[in-house]
């Protein structure tokens, strides 16, 4: 069954159509990659799904619930989380604290309970910490847990963002260029990590320029160009489609 259904989604930015009348579906447990040249509307699509911007037209349904135009925190509450192309880590906090923010939704205690230090608060805090440590372990950053996040190397910051997103235990995870700026070794580690995620109950949406990575890990690929869907299929089909090669792969593939 489809987890995410997008219909006729359209968004203009002052005359420029970033996403034009786009429709597609994503099934549970898939790794779906979005490729296309810069300006094809990939990040805009992610921003629309996570509610950071509102569509001009069209609907987004997640688990059959209409989430079109909902605020980001409501959408997140339904189980969608993401990473960012330009890293958005919480500077000034440690590595583990960053991941604990990701696990925010696993807590229930409010401001007053926290202020008056109700008995449940400490217990909940331990629970969140455990969740966070579990995710840090998955990305191999356990030993860095108390380091201020700003001084972490770039590649590890990318991994940390994924760990933070995972800490929410979302149903669907949107990764925006997770391999950007990573070297080959790091990219391989990343690829292995992403492959494991569906088994943990996560459906993955991926925007990426690294074709090797995409071809290796994705189940399904959507090719975008100028805000519209150009082609859709499995990696093999995409590689052999003339239109795609002409529009995109031909020039970009290394």
């Amino acid at each position: 069954m489809s987890l995410l259904e997008i219909e006729n989604l359209t968004r203009n930015f002052g005359g420029v159509t970033a996403v034009a009348n786009m429709s597609f579906q994503v099934n549970t447990g898939e790794i779906v990659a979005f490729i296309g040249p810069n300006g094809a509307g990939k990040t805009t699509l992610f921003n629309l799904i996570t509610g950071l911007i509102k569509p001009d037209y069209g609907t987004i349904k997640f688990k059959n619930i209409d989430i079109t135009g909902k605020v980001p925190e409501k959408i997140a509450a339904l189980g969608i989380n993401r990473t960012f192309q330009n890293l958005q880590l919480f500077n000034g906090m440690t590595v583990v604290e960053n991941v604990m923010v990701g696990a925010h939704r696993h807590g229930k205690q409010g401001l007053l309970q926290a202020g008056f230090s109700f008995p449940g608060v400490a217990k909940e805090e331990r629970f969140i910490l455990a969740k966070a440590m579990e995710k840090l372990e998955l990305v191999g950053l356990t030993d860095k847990k108390d380091i201020p996040v700003e001084i972490l190397p770039y590649g590890q910051q990318r991994l940390l963002e994924i760990a933070r997103a995972m800490a929410m235990e979302p149903k669907m995870l949107l990764l925006d260029e997770p391999a950007a700026g990573l070297n080959q070794g790091e990219t391989d580690i990343l690829g292995d990590l992403i492959c494991k995620l569906p088994k943990m109950g996560m459906t993955i949406l991926l925007v990426e320029h690294n074709m090797d990575l995409i071809m290796r890990i994705s189940h399904h690929i959507v090719v975008l160009d100028h805000g519209s869907k150009l082609f859709e299929g499995n990696p093999g089909e995409v590689q052999n489609d003339a239109k795609v090669i002409a529009a995109y792969l031909g020039e970009e593939i290394v």
């Binding site: 958005q88 880590l89 805090e125 770039y154 590649g155």
Partner: protein
């Protein structure tokens, strides 16, 4: 940098115990009620500034209107005790509720604004409230004010000496600090800091940023309100002038001098600012016998500028930085060594400096 559960009760609360010891020590060492009175004012301001730091330092939302909440607390307490006849404690609670409601309304209206626009909106709200104090002559007595506010009391226990008031105020400071510390070290506190660095990322993590901003705005207004109530029962005379725009700016100054993102910062900030003023008042005329108040103002301004240039994180931040530098450096070296396995990688970068 540390997680709560890994430390023992004593260690966790060492600073609090230390704080209590100092408060008692000051009371023992200062026999003169006047000097103790200075500490009463320091305590009252500290409560306001702790609330302000929660809002500004942790959540990153500027408020240039906090003196109005301080005033709302003071006026509500003063009016309810002097004119309606409530007990001070009950009046204080009602004052906090009134201020909380007003702050809630202002908060939901203004907290969607950013930085300078938010600063201006809070400034405007503060000035409107201040004008209200001035103009509602039938209720507030207008610019002439009114007196006859009773001293603070718990049942038959009157706080009418400097010493007793000192202990009363500093007990509230203690509660204020503990409450703030509990918030900051909780899940909510982390969420607030996350909102500060990247509101977008925070909302994508499912943090209801706007709701939290409003909540913390209300809490910090209630801090100001409680401080205002304490002020009213201490001075026992009420008029609008201490609650104007300048007072709001002064609170922000004290917060910034102490260190915005710190629970102990306010204590240092308020003490530093008030003592600096007193200190300049005594020292300047001794160095320059002909000097009037002008030199104090000049020095005060300059010292403020110098502190902010050299310690942009405030006194507490500056001291912390001084000791943390070595540790961070060591960490950075260690991290870079780990990195040697991937020689072509870039070093810690500021590429993620955040939202443009």
């Amino acid at each position: 940098m540390k997680t709560k559960s890994t430390k023992g009760f004593l260690q966790r609360n060492l600073s609090i115990i230390f704080f209590i010891a100092i408060v008692i020590l000051i009371a023992l060492l200062i026999p003169n009620p006047y000097y103790l009175g200075n500490f009463v004012i320091i305590g009252i301001f500290t409560i306001v500034v702790v609330g302000l730091c929660l809002l500004m330092g942790y959540t990153g939302q500027v408020s240039l209107g906090h003196a109005a909440f301080y005033g709302l607390g003071a006026y509500s307490s003063a009016l309810l005790t002097a004119k309606v006849g409530f007990t001070p404690l009950l009046a204080m609670v009602i004052a906090a509720v009134i201020t909380g409601i007003v702050a809630f309304l202002i908060g939901i209206a203004t907290l969607r604004l950013k930085e300078h626009y938010l600063a201006l909106a809070t400034l405007g709200s503060g000035i409107i409230i201040y004008i209200f104090f001035n103009e509602q002559v039938n209720i507030t007595g207008g610019p002439s004010g009114f007196s006859g506010i009773p001293y603070f009391s718990f049942g038959s226990w009157q706080f009418d000496t400097e010493r007793s008031y000192y202990f009363l105020v500093w007990s509230f400071v203690l509660l204020a600090i503990i409450f703030a510390r509990n918030i900051v070290s909780s899940r909510i506190g982390r969420a607030l800091r996350a909102i500060h660095t990247s509101e977008i990322a925070a909302t994508c993590m499912g943090i209801p940023a706007f709701q939290y901003k409003v909540q913390i705005f209300v809490i910090s207004a209630i801090y100001a309100s409680i401080a205002g109530s304490l002020y009213a029962h201490y001075i026992t005379f009420m008029s609008p002038s201490p609650f104007g725009f300048q007072a709001s700016v002064e609170f922000v100054l004290m917060a910034a001098i102490g260190g915005l993102a710190s629970i102990w910062g306010p204590l240092f900030g308020v003490t530093a600012v008030l003592f600096l003023t007193e200190f300049l008042k005594t020292v300047v005329p001794e160095i320059m016998p002909s000097a009037g108040g002008e030199y104090e103002i000049i020095f005060f301004g300059l010292i403020l500028v110098i502190v902010m240039i050299f310690m942009p994180e405030g006194l507490v931040g500056g001291i912390k930085d001084y000791f943390a530098k070595g540790k961070i450096k060591k960490l950075a070296i260690k991290v870079n060594q780990d990195l040697a396995e991937f020689p072509e990688n870039d070093l810690p970068s500021d590429r993620n400096k955040g939202v443009q």
